[in-house]
Amino acid sequence: MRVVLTVAGLELKAAGRERLAIVLLAVFLGMVLVSSGIGWATHHTVTSVFNETVRVTGQKLVNPFDRVSSLDSLKNTIIYIVLIGSLLAIVAGTRSSIRDRKAGVAELIFSRPLGNWSYAAGKLIGVQVWLGFVLAAAGVLSWLSVWLVTGQVLTSAATASLLAFFCLAWLFLAPFTALGLLAGAYSHYESTALLIPILIWVAFTFVIPQLGTAEHPTALLNPVPSAVSTSGAFFQFNRSILQPIAITEHFKHAGSVFLGLAGAGSRVVGGDIASIIALGILGAALFVFVSSRVAKRDLYE
């Protein structure tokens, strides 16, 4: 365990030196600010539209925004985590593995009495820990931004939901970190080390949901999970087969439930979390299994 913590500590140090963690922090905070800014602009406009409608019609109307969740202004964060969060986790993982191979450290490390498990677990924990710091900062900023947008401090229940959402986001990024680490350890070229996990990410984010719903790729960028747009048996069959591995859809569903979004559907999220954890474990296991064998491979560029 001490070895695992040493590798994780070195990973954190290296991330700090590379400034990648700082750049990622800036991206995530920017992402939250954009999401909140859009939320504020729309909230403000909808309230004005509602007031104007009351004035024009002369009727006594109930503001439909009153029924919307207090965390609604953060709904775009779901899709930003699916897209940019997972991509950045891939980049972080890839660069972490490539860094060791480029510096020739991988060979040195595996010449020591160090198990595959210790090295791989240390790497994964190291990257996930600093991704956790980044998400924690994004969570705090989200809490503050909702306060600013709605003018009300979040209740303890809403704060707990927000906390659950960011914990889920942290879990969701783990399979992508493992995928990046794996590709970085395996590939002979840095460009293919990035391209292969990006293609796998495309499959999880767009192709698998499209095969089960017939939705167009841009429609899949909605924060709430996609529904089947046709009654075709082909899509129903695909959906039942591919459902367990469609982790982006699972994250969108569970995230929508935690943020209390309308259109989230069923409130049960156990299956979603189980799928995300299962793929995280699979990715980590694969990385553990192959890391010592492939991390010493030649890197041509």
Binding site: V34, T42, T45, F50, I79, L194, V202, P217, F235, E301
Partner: protein, 336 residues
């Protein structure tokens, strides 16, 4: 004899430093698994999306037939027309894949061309020869243009075959022309992203920063700005629509929205600054995805879309010029 290029042109091709870099990049592209993966990956998503669109269309036809059957059995009269098949409309998802995935792959490609020289240390070796930064960037830009040209030509073959086999459609001459125009627009779009990434990788001291900056720009241009249009639409803020939930009629809706023209104009203006949105609008117009342009003449589509095409061409040229300027010897030789 007529096909043989003049000596001076041969001289430029063989001896100019930019051309040497260009030829080297093409050789690297044929050796690296990146190009093969790129073609296979994009071909796979295009074939899958075509298959999904085709199966979805047949499902809709079957749904319509069931509806007609039930309606006739109940003694009702048929008012709705059956779904009509337009082969090019099956390519909607393919355009969206090129818009979203093609762009990010183009960023990785452009970044990789500069990153490999820095990582291998060959950048120092290159500049020990009489070559300028602009020549180096020029050779790489030319290579990117040719690689994307070849990739899209291969994808065109995949699309023609897939439309025939999966969609069961034979394209007319005009449809082929529209498809080729849409693919040319894709070339401009993808080249712009790769050229932008070459500029970023050359302009930043740290390669990691260039890659993250490229991803962030991709996020803003491809996702955030186009999404603003939908997200900031007041009527999209409440499930079922704001005005429907308030039970407000069209006349009152118009009267209310007349007070928010500034907001609406800003929303549209923001959308129009996105290269992806411009590409999508022009691509959808030529493929007839938007009903307004379906089965229309090339002249009609051009008259409505020239601004989007000009925008694409302008941004591509700007990205290329930026890459040529930014990739100076001094910048490329900086230590991380």
């Amino acid at each position: 004899m007529f096909l043989c290029p003049p000596e001076w042109l041969k001289g430029i091709y063989m001896n100019s430093p930019a051309m040497v870099v260009f030829r080297k990049e093409l050789k690297d592209a044929t050796r690296s698994p990146f190009t093969l993966l790129l073609v296979l990956g994009l071909a796979a998503v295009i074939i899958l999306s075509l298959a999904v669109a085709s199966i979805e269309f047949h499902s809709k036809v079957a749904d319509y037939q069931r509806y007609i059957h039930a309606l006739k059995a109940a003694g009702g009269s048929v008012a709705n027309l059956p779904p009509t098949f337009f082969a090019l409309q099956l390519l909607r998802s393919s355009v969206e894949y090129l818009e979203i995935i093609g762009a990010i792959v183009a960023v990785v490609m452009g970044y990789g061309l500069i990153a490999k020289e820095k990582n291998r240390g060959t950048i120092r070796l290159l500049f020990s020869r009489p070559v300028t930064g602009a020549e180096l960037a020029g050779g790489k830009l030319l290579a990117v243009a040719v690689i994307w040209g070849v990739v899209l030509a291969l994808l065109a073959l995949v699309i023609f075959a897939a439309l025939g086999v999966i969609g069961g459609a034979a394209l007319s001459g005009v449809e082929v022309a529209k498809l080729l125009i849409a693919l040319s627009l894709s070339w401009l779009y993808l080249f712009a992203w790769s050229a932008g990434a070459i500029a970023l990788a050359g302009g930043t001291r740290r390669l990691g920063t260039a890659l993250i900056a490229g991803l962030v720009i991709w996020l803003v241009v491809v996702l955030i700005i186009p999404q603003i249009g939908d997200t900031m639409d007041p009527d999209n803020q409440v499930p079922g629509g704001l005005f429907k939930s308030l039970q407000v009629n069209k006349a009152h809706e118009k009267a209310v929205l007349a007070h928010f023209t500034g907001y609406e104009s800003t929303r549209n203006l923001l959308e129009e600054t996105s290269l992806s949105k411009r590409f999508e609008r022009a691509g959808f117009a030529y493929l007839g995805v938007k009903e307004e342009f379906n089965q229309r003449s090339l002249g009609y589509i051009w008259n409505n879309q020239w601004a989007n095409v000009a925008w694409l061409a302008g941004v591509s040229a700007l990205a290329a010029i930026l890459a040529l300027i930014v990739n100076s010897k001094r910048r490329l030789l900086r230590k991380e």
